[in-house]
Amino acid sequence: MTTLLYTHPACLEHDTGFGHPECPARLTAILNVLRRSPFAALEWRDAPAAEIAQLTRIHPQAHVERLLAQVPRQGHHAIDGDTILSPGSGEAALRAAGAACAAVDAVLNGEANNAFCAIRPPGHHAEPRQAMGFCLFGNTAIGAAHARAAHGLERVAIIDFDVHHGNGTQAAVEQDAGYLYISTHQAHIYPGTGRRNECGVGNIVNLPLMANSGSADLRHVWRQDIEPALREFQPQLIVISAGFDAHYLDPLAELNFNEDDYAWLTGQILAVAADYCEGRVVSLLEGGYNLPALATSVAAHVKALMEAPKAAQRSLVKNILERQKAKRNAAGL
């Protein structure tokens, strides 16, 4: 089974203006790495543009229309100090959300184990009625909603390891127990949400980390909070909001993850996916603003996705061993 890579040249045409950290060069850096030989087995696919009906599962139609109407014919339009539109932004945003839906379709139709969407603009800050924080449409929430609506899934888990809290994704899913949203993020920075006491209907797990938290802290919250919550939920699909700005070289925050952490975390997520949903994982690019660190971190993440079958096998072996152990215990041995 393969790993799919969804991307589209239109995602390079979303121009945020001179010096903006969420720049086309991010995607170029990522794609340059993924074209190298260790990734030869990736199956590249063009991201289709999302249909409006896919967006309106999350965003009111009027908001979608207003946002697309704000896309300028030339120059730039600032939605806020961080969030900039250029003439190419409309198509880029539609392709980004479309990639999420297409990747969900492919993985749920059994065309691949998992998929990574190398897309921009990112999506997890985009609230149902407000584009913000570099994000236009809520790609992750749109992909997760597509899995529910178009494929009839009852339980979709979302794991968001971007350094910023995914306020938009949370807002989109917090009233629906068919979603589980788990986020690690740095406390007290943008966007200010993501406190532990924001629980939705018991389906939101926020894990704010203090500045300078690193590998050990990530492993701690995985064991303490993330893995138990995921296993209790028994997801039928896991969607990842894959931001790489918790890397120790990132200029927008102060967490200290590294490439090995991203590979490890991805492996852990895949092992849970192997246990509950035949390894079905769809991962979407969010942030990450140090270009070399972004490229190497994405490489580590995608490499782990491609090695998923091995992880699944390991998990299967572990399951068999555990079942044998349980049997022995039951037999009083």
């Binding site: 950290p21 806020d80 100090g81 961080d82 924080g133 570099f134 910023h164 007290h188 920075i189 943008y190 966007p191 200010g192 927008l252 925050a253 102060e254």
Partner: protein, 152 residues
Amino acid sequence: MYEFLQYQVRDAMTADPIAIGPDATLREVEALFEAHDFNGVPVVDGHHHLIGVLTKFDLLKAFSFDSHTLVPHYDQIMEQPAEAVMTRDPVSVDQHLPLSRLLQKLVEMHTKSLPVVDNGRLVGIIAREDVLKALRRATLQHELPVHAESSP
């Protein structure tokens, strides 16, 4: 060193220092720092009462990560008034405080300077350099060489 013990803050401070009002912009404050090599500047009200202190640290702090924007915006931040970022109710010292005690305060607080007040009105600034200069002055003529002290 005995003479140093006689000094009060007013003997060593810079009197009538430059101060700003609460509505001075951060841009103006930075220009002031640039021109005078100050580390901080006192903020006073219309009656010259001390209401705050604004240091380079406060300027840096205005640019630190917060929950409002992903990237801080230079022009927007530099147009803010001093009162938005200054330290309110700052520690100040009375002009009659013994300089030895002031030295102790600077060490304990790791601070570079303190405003000096007389009944709440700003009358001076006392900085690390002022205290070092006073130490030098107090000992220049009067301190006996070590070897002379030990001989009978």
